[in-house]
């Protein structure tokens, strides 16, 4: 987005944050603050009206903030800056009974896609994002981008069309599906071998809100602790299966993964299948829990007869 828009939104955000904190409507504001370098930001948790100055909004606010609300809500009502992905994350946690709508105050911000600090081009997760604008908010701090897309500066490859087609969204999946089974096996074995089981993917995922993950429990046969290919595969495939029908495709898991595993390809494989097999609707668009594996239809496709 252009410099002027960024500054305008930053001022609006700071003003709103200061007002909310001063009035005491919220106990903490979750946003971004500048990092050490200009193209870097880091999540900020402001509870003092004077500190609202630290908040920024620009092209490099790469973190999806939804899940931080869980950690902060003990202090009281939490204001969260929300774009498309964050707002769907909030809906996700509401649908999973982990959050109540009135525990959060959502500051809607227009988003035309964030940039990768390393390369300056559009982040992969924003390139394939289908919902730029916040699906739910209490106040909208700027014009929704869907209407006016001032993406002059946005990377052209994002394409001006607001709505990403299914082909674009599932390109990675389709690419892998076309590979021969052995090549797919080799690709994922190599990936799973790299996994160091740091669980950053679980930490950043708004679907992963269990009190104690199955991976951390000590149960016979349930989950080996070894960091080898077979147990890594067990963890990764099980996690995809657990969140597959609730995934809001925010791309945080892949972005957070230090070892660069193709996690979104795995998640989107399941999202694509559930969409084509049971025409599951996109997750997190409303507060209802529309998880496809949590329901059934008498007319479902039959392939096991």
């Amino acid at each position: 987005m252009s410099l002027s828009t960024a500054e305008a939104l930053t001022d609006a955000l700071r003003e709103e944050a200061r007002r909310l904190l001063a009035e005491g409507t919220v106990a903490v504001v979750v946003g971004w603050e500048a990092g050490r370098f200009p193209n870097q930001t880091t999540p900020a948790f402001i509870s003092d009206p004077e500190q609202a100055q630290r908040l920024v909004y620009g092209d490099y606010c790469v973190n999806t903030l939804a899940k931080y609300a869980l950690g902060e809500k003990a202090a009281g009502k939490v204001a969260v800056c929300v774009r498309g992905c964050d707002s769907r994350g909030i809906n996700r946690m509401i649908a999973d009974n982990q959050l109540l709508r009135d525990e959060v105050y959502l500051l809607g911000l227009p988003c035309s896609g964030m940039k990768d600090p390393a390369t300056g081009s559009l982040l992969m997760k924003c390139r394939t994002c289908t919902e730029h604008d916040a699906v739910t908010y209490d106040v909208l701090l700027g014009p929704a981008t869907a209407a006016g897309h001032d993406g002059a500066s946005a990377d052209s490859s994002a394409g001006d069309s607001e709505h990403v087609s299914d082909e674009q969204r599932f390109t990675a999946v389709l690419g892998i599906e076309e590979m021969a089974p052995e090549k797919r096996r080799a690709l994922f074995d190599a990936a799973f071998n790299k996994c160091i089981r740091c669980y950053a993917c679980r930490k950043s995922c708004p679907c992963c809100t269990c009190r104690e993950c199955f991976v951390d429990q000590l149960r016979a046969g349930w989950q080996g602790k070894q960091n080898n290919l077979a147990e890594n595969r067990f963890y990764n495939i099980t996690r995809v299966f657990h969140i597959g029908d609730r995934c809001i495709e925010c791309g945080e898991c892949e972005r957070a993964c230090p070892m660069g595993l193709p996690l979104m390809a795995l998640n989107r494989k399941m999202v694509k299948d559930l969409k084509s097999l049971f025409n599951a609707d996109d997750a997190g668009m409303t507060e209802e829990n529309s998880a496809a594996l949590g329901r059934y239809d008498l007319g479902d496709l039959e392939e096991f007869m």
Binding site: N97, R211, E212, F214, W222, N289, G294
Partner: protein, 660 residues
């Protein structure tokens, strides 16, 4: 440390022939935690069981693996045997080394290896088994019967006669349902009122049956033995304590409305008893048509009432009570044929094209025409009648695909009644097949033909009015010719379809419905009166079209099921049920939607966590309802929900044992 005993059965030669049993015993001894292994000729026999009981004492065993025939055969037997020992009957695993091993693998070596694997799996699983206990649920010994037709009344009478209190809820102002509308009943032709009204009177006066008319079930909560049912009673505007049923009000009431009971052929007043023999035999005021209530005028009934029983300002009453069991007996209704059959006249059909129930009212002595068969259009006696069967039934394209079972018989009855009352009349019956499956049914059909009813095998393609006659175009497939019959009256024997509120009531009670919205029984052959929802039973046509004998039989069957439930003070719940670990559960509710028995609910708990009192919702399984399918355990990501007897750990152990 568990002390496992393994017992391998020869089952005569069934196992011994193709499995080297001693070798399996040998292998069993080497398994972890197995402290005793032996073989028996016949483990299920009395000496066989005794040898196990002795071994338990002698070797201080605390769990038993039996490698024998299928658990479907003797799991129960061996559990009963363990009841007589100090071992919990659920600390038992059975390895199926007969049906799924010795009988299907001829090669001894492969068979023996497999048997050893199966024993190893069972031993690995039992190592993780925990003692299980059935819990008890209190049973409120009060029954609720929904629907006051013959089904509901028969069920209520049986339960009340067995000594249990019953509440009978009926939507209409009087008991009787559809049966009391009929004139005669096949095949014996005894008058329907003569056999139905005594039952109504018996129900009305039975000390343990509380009849609630103009009442509907609004909400059902709870589960088997403990249903919390909210009943809404519409205002009757008459105080039944004071009213003596003298009928003065009804005679003087100026407003005349078409009578629903007479299927639109007769009239009734705004304050009315649906029919003479109504039970309770007291009138109600139809608020929608009462001039006093709507326009404040009239009030004749209030002035005339000798006991001052009229209450214009009566309000609807709601009450919530506890019941242990519910019998659904809401009956059926006839299909609305006018929208489906334009060729018979559709919405603008002649008034002389009537349904079977309307014919019943015509021919009924207490009906609008005192039993004289008259054409609704001009009141003249029809000299020729055409009866058309399967209107809406067995017609997947326009109506319902199923056969409504009773119309062949009551079609023949109508023909018989008509020829009886109009000796010089001619009666034609168009049919596809005549189905007379009961005692004396076919003889009745033969008599009707001997009376002169002309049975034409073929469907009627068109009915139209011309020259004051109803011209029925059809065909006689046996003669291979098209047929044209001019009739004064046409009776359509229309299909039975579920009552209007069947769908709503079904979802309230958790009873599934089939594609035609009939309430689904638990098993079509083996459990016809039970449902998948514990404590809810079905009686009569709400479960599907049937005639009166089947309905009454089903009503008594449902009553018996209730009495079985009430024969015990407490209900023993299933032992192998799901359970949720409060510490692991974050209340996401994924399990709640899975359960077909609504056994899982989210409950609020307050407990100390990390030295802070916390209140949050967690999932809770109702032992009375859970049937132990385990579908919810897979929906639970952290594995908080687990199934006793088939827990994640037990199954994982079994899988590991198989792979070693």
């Amino acid at each position: 440390m568990s002390r496992i005993g393994v017992f391998i059965c020869h089952c005569g030669s069934n196992i011994g022939a193709t499995v080297d049993v001693p070798k399996v015993v040998e292998a069993a001894r080497t398994l972890p935690h197995v402290v005793y292994a032996d073989d028996n000729k016949y483990t299920c026999s009395d000496p066989g069981q005794q040898s196990i009981r002795d071994a338990i004492e002698e070797h201080d065993l605390d769990r038993i693996v039996i490698a024998s025939c299928s658990p479907r055969m003797h799991e129960l037997t061996f559990r009963k045997m363990l009841h007589q020992t100090r071992i919990n009957p659920y600390l038992l695993e059975i390895a199926n080394i007969r049906e799924q091993c010795s009988w299907v693998h001829k090669d001894i070596e492969a068979g023996t290896a497999k048997a050893i694997d199966l024993v190893r799996m069972a031993a690995a699983k039992i190592d993780r088994d925990t003692p299980l206990y059935t819990t008890t649920i209190p049973v409120n010994k009060r029954a609720l019967v929904i629907g006051g037709g013959i089904a509901g009344m028969q069920a209520a009478l049986d339960i009340a006669d067995a000594g249990y209190p019953v509440t009978l809820v009926e939507k209409e102002p009087s008991l009787g349902g559809k049966m009391v509308m009929l004139d005669k009943t096949f095949p014996t032709m005894d008058c329907s009122a003569c056999i139905c009204t005594p039952k109504m009177a018996e129900v009305g006066t039975h000390p343990r049956i509380e009849v609630r008319t103009c009442a509907e079930v609004e909400k059902v909560a709870g589960y088997v033995g403990n249903f919390e049912v909210t009943i809404r009673e519409a205002p009757k505007h008459v105080d039944y304590e004071l009213c003596t049923g003298c009928g003065l009000c009804e005679s003087k009431c100026p407003t005349k409305i078409t009578s629903e009971f007479d299927q639109g052929l007769g009239k009734r007043k705004a304050i009315y008893k649906p029919f003479a023999q109504a039970v309770p035999s007291k009138p109600t005021i139809d608020a929608a048509h009462c001039r006093k209530i709507n326009e404040g005028k009239c009030g004749v009934c209030e002035k005339l009432c000798p006991t001052g029983a009229i209450r214009f300002d009566d309000e609807e009453k709601r009450s919530t009570e506890t019941y242990g069991a519910i019998i659904v007996a809401i009956g059926y209704q006839l299909i609305d044929w006018a929208d489906l059959y334009g060729e018979y006249g559709g919405r603008v059909a002649s008034p002389n094209v009537i349904t079977g129930l309307q014919f019943e009212r015509l021919v009924n002595a207490s009906g609008p025409t005192e039993g004289h068969i008259q054409r609704p259009s001009d009141g003249t006696e029809p000299k020729s009648v055409v009866i058309v069967k399967c209107v809406g039934s067995r017609d997947p394209h326009k109506g319902k695909a199923y056969c409504s079972r009773a119309c062949c018989m009551y079609g023949a009855k109508h023909a018989h009644q008509y020829l009886d009352k109009v000796p010089d009349g001619r009666c034609y019956v168009f049919y596809m097949d005549v189905r007379t499956p009961g005692k004396g049914y076919d003889e009745f059909y033969m008599n009707t033909q001997r009376d002169g009813a002309v049975y034409l095998r073929g469907r009627v393609s068109k009915i139209y009015e011309q020259g004051g006659k109803l011209v029925c175009l059809g065909e006689d497939t046996l003669a291979g010719a098209t047929v044209q019959v001019e009739a004064d009256l046409v009776v359509l024997e229309t299909a039975m379809v579920p009552a209007d509120d069947a769908d709503r009531l079904g979802s309230m009670l958790g009873v599934t419905r089939d594609k035609d919205l009939w309430l689904s029984e638990a098993h079509p052959k083996l459990r016809p009166v039970e449902t998948n929802s514990g404590g809810v039973y079905l009686a009569g046509t709400c479960q599907g079209p049937k005639d009166i004998p089947d309905t009454v039989a089903q009503a008594s069957a449902a009553a018996m099921k209730v009495c079985i439930l009430f024969s015990k003070d407490e209900l023993e719940s299933n032992a192998m049920i799901a359970g949720s670990d409060v510490g692991l559960c974050n209340g996401c509710g994924a399990c709640v939607a899975i359960c077909p028995y609504q056994a899982v609910t989210l409950e609020e708990v307050t407990r100390r966590e990390n030295s802070v009192m916390v209140t949050r919702t967690v999932s809770n399984v109702n032992p009375g309802l859970c049937q132990g399918c385990g579908a919810c355990t897979v929906a639970c990501k952290p594995g908080a929900m687990d199934l006793k007897g088939f827990s994640d750990e037990q199954i994982m152990r079994e899988v590991e044992a198989l792979c070693l």
